[in-house]
Structures are given as C-alpha cells and as structure tokens.
C-alpha cells in the first residue's frame, strides 16, 4: 500500500509563501487558518546575517499523536497514510492540537465563518468553501486529498516556483522520494517526538 509523503528541498525554497497562498486558495481556509506556512528566521550577527525559510505543513505522521489523543475517533488515518479529520465526529476538545508537536491543527472558533477576508462579508468563493468547515471543530491539511484522489498533486506542490516540494509515494525503496532522502540525507522535524513524519527535508 502506498504511503504518501513529501520531500521539501530547503536549498530551493526562497520563502515566497506561494505555497501558503495556494493552499489557502485551494482549501478556502478562514482567516488565521494556514494549513501550509513558511517559518522565517534571521540567523547570524551583523554584518553576516541571512534569512532562512522552513516550509511546514501537517506531517501526516505514520504514528500520529493527534489520532492517539482523539477521544472520539474523529482523527483517522487513510490506507495511503493521510491523516484526516471527520468533522461529523469531532467534539472540539482540541486534544489533537495539544498533542501535535508541529502546531498543524486548527480550531474553527465560533463566528470565524461569518466573515471572510473582506470587510464586505463573504465572497462568493468563501461562501462555498466555508460550507466545508464546521464551527467548534478541528481542521487540518489533507495533502489536498481531493486532488490526490483524482491523480493530481497538492496545490502547494504545483505552485512552488522553484520546485522545492516533491510529492509522491514513500514506500518504494527505489522511488524518487526515497532516492532523494538517501542521497541527500533527508531528515524530519522533531525526531525526538517519535511521530514518524511523512514530510522530509533536504538541505545538503
């Protein structure tokens, strides 16, 4: 069975946040909810400083702490490894948010779906997309499961202008993702949390 994942090449990432916007546009997330984002940090001391960028998203862990913490079974794992939330079962206890080391769970507060990014109320697009959310429940990145199921790639992957994101199946040992991980010594975020993420980073 496939195990879907992603490799992010930090040598290519320029911190443009196109992925952040593409994700927001594709999923129609409410204000303040960003499934994909880029963490920026300035390193060094003047005059030798630079900005570094770390694109983050749900890691769709192989051992997801959010699923273990969920008391209602709303968080579940697909056969292909994607971690999903069933909004019909979610009770909004936010245990998953506390359990996720990567801060990639988002709570839809009451009133959040009543206004969009414009002061003039919801745009037609927001009106359609916000219907996919429920107040008082959790939401998260699905690696664009609705696109993946049609054989397409996630929005953040196809939008990236530098091809820093590579999406695919992590299972085949000789597959393109595993080759990249082995050749360039790919690593995952917070390995000490033992979550077995499906998102790998390359910086060599």
């Amino acid at each position: 069975m496939a195990r879907l994942g992603m490799v992010i090449d930090l040598k290519r990432c320029i911190g443009c946040n196109a992925c952040t916007l593409a994700c927001k546009q594709e999923n129609g997330t409410p204000e303040g909810v960003h499934y994909a984002r880029v963490i920026t940090r300035e390193v060094g001391t003047y005059p030798k400083t630079k900005r570094t960028f770390l694109p983050v998203l749900c890691n769709h862990c192989d051992d997801p702490p959010c699923a273990h913490a969920c008391p209602s079974g709303a968080t579940w794992v697909r056969d292909d490894g994607l971690v999903m939330v069933d909004r019909e079962k979610c009770i909004g206890c936010r245990a998953c948010a506390v359990a996720c080391p990567y801060m990639n769970r988002h709570f839809i507060e009451k009133g959040l779906l009543e206004h969009g990014y414009s002061a003039d109320g919801l745009s037609p697009y927001e009106a359609i997309k916000f219907a996919e959310f429920d107040e008082g429940t959790m939401t998260k990145c699905t690696l664009c499961a609705h696109r993946v199921d049609q054989g397409l790639e996630p929005a953040c992957v196809i939008t990236c202008p530098t091809d820093a994101r590579i999406f695919g199946d992590l299972e085949p040992a000789e597959g393109k993702l595993q080759k990249l991980i082995q050749e360039r010594k790919g690593w995952t975020l917070l390995p000490e949390c033992s979550t077995k993420p499906s998102v790998f980073y390359l910086d060599e």
């Binding site: 930090l10 300035e42 079974g73 206890c93 359990a99 990567y102 429920d134 959790m138 949390c193 980073y201």
Partner: protein, 299 residues
C-alpha cells in the same frame, strides 16, 4: 554562524517556542474540580462524612462536567468522547466519571435514605467502584497532559503524581475545613490535622523535584522552568503557589493544631485551594512547544 537565543514566537510564521493556547481556564477548572471533588468524596466515604460525600460528588459531577461541556466546541456531541478508551486518556476519564457518577449516586442514596437498602456485597461493590473511579479522576488529568511528547514540560511521569498529590491535599484540606465549620468533632479531624502539614511538605518537595528535573530537560521544558523561577511567571509561582498555597497554609495549619477556629480553617482552605488552582492554571498556560528547527536555523 552565531544565532539569537530562542524566544517565544509571536505568531505561527515566526520561529521560536510556541505557546499552548488551546486548553484554558475552563480546562483548568475542570481538572481542579475533578481532583478536589473526587478526593473529598473518597475521604468522606471512608470516614462516613455524608456532607463531604455530597459536596465532593457535586463538585465532580456538576463542576467538572459543566466546565468540560462549556469548553467543548460541539458540546452536543460530548458522548462521542467516550468512543476510544483503548487509546485516549480523555475517553478513559469519561468512563471513570460515568462510573463515579453512578456509584456515587447509589452510595449517597444509601447514606441519606436507607443505609441497609443494598445487600452487603453490592454495597461493597458500589464503594469499590466509587473509590477506584474517584482515584482515577484524581490523577488521569496528568496522563491526559503527559501522554504527548509535544509539550516537553508536561511529558514526564512526575506530572500525574504531582496532580494526584495536589488533589489529595486539596481534598484533605476541604474535608478538614468543612468538618471544622460544622463543628464535626470526630477522631478523623485530629489525624487530618496532623496529616495536613506532611502533605504540604510532600507537595513542596515534589514540586521542587519537578522543577529541578525540568530545568535539565529539553530546551522547551527548560524555558518553561526558567519562566516559572525567574521569568514572567515567577510572581505567580512564588507568590500564589509557594507562598500562599504551601508556606502560608503550612504555617496556619500548625497554628490551627494549637488554636482551632472556624475563621482560621476558612483561611487555610482559601490559601491551599488558591495555590492548587494556580498550579493547574500555570501548568496549562506555560506549556511550550519545541521550536521547529533546521540545520540552517542554527540547530
């Protein structure tokens, strides 16, 4: 290349420690009510103190559950929280609270209506279920918090023990205070008075060990410990939790052994419960997630 020390990120696009912002004062209140209510009920059950049983029961069943329901995003679906006791400590807590509510209700009926209504075997079974479920309620919050590795300051086996000890102390203090207010002079009052200082000292020692351990744990845990001891939370920690909750309570408890008084009992309870509640609230508020780092970030 040198880097700046890691601080708390102001937003999710920034680098640094992220604050735990989901579990707030309602969850703290639920944990608090569960701990002291269950502790008060168990102590009162074992010492045949009916009023304590009733109050402890109400604190858990009404206080704890109300706080939880008010917090849930979808409270009408609360029953779903019991679905996964195989892997979720919250689900296990729901089951324990349910068993406590049923067995406690039966025991209260027996106490207030007809103590001989049930055969001895069933009476004993109800007491066993109430005590075991009550004990579970006293400490399971610690496992809810420490289960995940996401917040290093919580991810220690010491946390359930700390929560259990504070619940025991809170229930004992409350039980003692209620009996003194009602001039309920029984032998239990004497041993509770004598036990109180030892419980306070034990909690003080455990808290010190907890912070000492966290001061040598991972960076996020060390940062939280620093905030408690020297940073933005030092006033709350040393003021409310240590000075009021432990030291003042200890001093007044020793005075009470010599010169008993209802007013003094109330002050002792106020001090101890303030410290107890403050500890839970500070524990929730100060939880930090480790920063998501990369080699280029100076990891």
């Amino acid at each position: 290349m040198t880097t700046q020390p890691i601080s708390i990120a102001q937003h999710r696009f920034g680098f640094g420690y992220y604050r735990q912002v989901w579990w707030n004062w309602l969850i703290g209140t639920a944990f608090f009510c569960g701990g002291i209510g269950a502790s008060l009920f168990i102590l009162s059950l074992l010492t045949r103190y009916r009023f304590g049983m009733l109050l402890g029961y109400l604190i858990v069943v009404v206080g704890k559950n109300s706080a939880h329901l008010m917090y849930l995003g979808r409270p009408e679906r609360f029953w779903r929280a019991a679905m996964r006791p195989d892997r979720s400590w919250i689900a296990r807590g729901i089951w324990a609270t349910g068993l406590f509510a049923i067995s406690g209700f039966v025991l209260l009926l027996l106490e207030f209506v007809n103590p001989q209504a049930l055969p001895d075997g069933m009476n004993l079974a109800a007491r066993a279920v109430a005590i075991m479920s009550g004990l579970f309620i006293m400490f399971y919050d610690g496992f809810v918090m420490n289960h995940s590795t996401a917040i290093p300051f919580w991810n220690t086996k010491l946390l359930p023990l700390l929560i259990l000890m504070y619940a025991t102390l809170g229930g004992t203090t409350l039980s003692l205070t209620l009996r003194m207010l009602q001039s309920y002079a029984t032998p239990e009052v004497k041993w509770m008075e004598q036990a109180e200082p030892y419980l306070l000292l034990a909690n003080f020692a455990l808290l010190a060990i907890y912070l000492l351990r966290m001061s040598r744990w991972s960076p996020a845990a060390r940062e939280t410990a620093r905030m408690w001891l020297k940073g933005s939370y030092a006033r709350i920690f040393f003021g409310l939790i240590v000075a009021v909750g432990l030291l003042a309570t200890l001093a007044l408890s020793l005075v009470q052994q010599q010169a008993q008084g209802r007013g003094l009992a109330l002050i002792i309870a106020g001090c101890e419960l303030t410290g107890d509640f403050s500890l839970l609230m500070l524990m929730l508020k100060s939880g930090l997630f480790a920063p998501q780092t990369a080699p280029a970030f100076g990891r």
